[in-house]
């Protein structure tokens, strides 16, 4: 019997990264901007998408892939806004993986401008999985507390933009948007930060403009 040491150096997320790269290539070729939304449960991901659906109604064609452990509730809320939505129920899994998105992608109509993926509500696990998105948005709502970026750094490190939600509650809560922003920027310099109330519409122009600009950038880069 011989004992041997074998050098392997294999990335455990390699399979997911390959699937994500294929999705990114396909969506870029189709001129679709894909945005992955990450946050704790109840931070307002679905409400933000409802508000964007209203705002983009006459401007962009939107579609949404919803990830949840159970129920079609979020997809139903999005469909009620006239936006096509697909629900992925993970049945217990705490995050979406790229191959789950790949399976739905064939059903997404060709004439779409913005494809949002609402990840499973969880500020930890989804951060490790690239879904082939062009932009990753992390949401942090005022009731959660302004100390979360340093406590959950991976999510903020992996994001392109931070959306501080439920700004309409700031008058009642000890949440300091400046502190949340400073913590997040220490982890990820250059992170774009938006403070919004999806219900009242405050700050939504800035976020909508950012998404429109990213779509334009993706399409001009493609041409």
């Amino acid at each position: 019997m011989t004992t041997k040491t074998i050098t392997v150096v294999r990335d455990l997320l390699a399979t997911n990264k390959q699937a994500a790269a294929a999705i990114r290539t396909e969506l870029r070729a189709r001129g679709i901007l894909c945005v992955n939304l990450l946050s704790s449960p109840g931070s307002g991901k679905t409400t933000l998408l409802e508000a964007l659906a209203e705002r983009f109604r006459d401007r962009f064609r939107m579609a949404v892939i919803e990830g949840d452990i159970e129920t079609e509730r979020d997809a139903e809320r999005i469909r009620a806004k006239g936006v096509p939505a697909w629900q992925i129920t993970t049945g217990g899994a705490c995050h979406l993986e790229a191959r789950m998105i790949g399976k739905v992608l064939g059903d997404v109509p060709a004439a779409i401008d913005l494809l949002f993926i609402e990840n499973v509500g969880n500020l930890v696990c989804p951060a490790s999985y690239d879904l082939g998105e062009a932009l990753r948005l992390v949401l942090l709502s005022s009731p959660e507390g302004d100390d979360k970026p340093a406590k959950y750094p991976q999510a903020f490190l992996s994001a392109d933009a931070l959306v501080l939600t439920k700004s309409d509650l700031l008058a009642y809560l000890p949440f300091d948007p400046g502190r949340a922003a400073a913590e997040a920027l220490a982890i990820k310099p250059g992170l774009r930060i938006f403070t919004v109330s999806a219900l009242r519409g405050d700050g939504m122009d800035g976020l909508a403009g950012y998404l429109a600009e990213a779509l334009e950038g993706l399409r001009s880069g493609r041409a």
């Binding site: 041997k4 392997v8 150096v9 490190l157």
Partner: protein, 114 residues
């Protein structure tokens, strides 16, 4: 808790390497886990113990090498290990740093018997 999913990927690699080298058993597995990888070493260990029963790695010992965050600064050229979540350059304070280590999640090497 996505460690079960990660450990199932470890076992795909182990089965493949065991076949490739004609191994009768795998005796050790070394993983490199970055602090910013999002995976928790304790949970990887528990998942590994659960998964290994009945596999070629049933008696294998798992070693996890935890990799701290190392940043490289394009402004001053410095490299430094950062202990907290302040990922600025330790030398010049620049915030334009690149994280060069600390996000990996890798099967580094294995020991096997043939």
């Amino acid at each position: 808790m996505h460690e079960l999913s990660l450990v199932s990927s470890v076992f795909e690699v182990l089965e493949e390497k065991a076949r490739e080298h004609g191994a009768v058993r795998i005796t050790a597995v070394v993983l490199k886990v970055g602090i910013m990888s999002g995976a928790v070493p304790d949970l990887l260990e528990s998942a590994f113990e659960t998964f290994k029963k009945g596999t070629v790695a049933e008696t294998a010992r798992l070693e996890i090498v935890v990799v701290p965050v190392k940043v490289r600064c394009p402004d001053c050229g410095g490299e430094a290990v950062r202990a907290d979540t302040d990922f600025s350059c330790a030398g010049c304070g620049s915030r334009r740093v690149e994280i060069v280590e600390g996000r990996e999640l890798v099967v580094e090497r294995i020991e096997l018997e043939t």
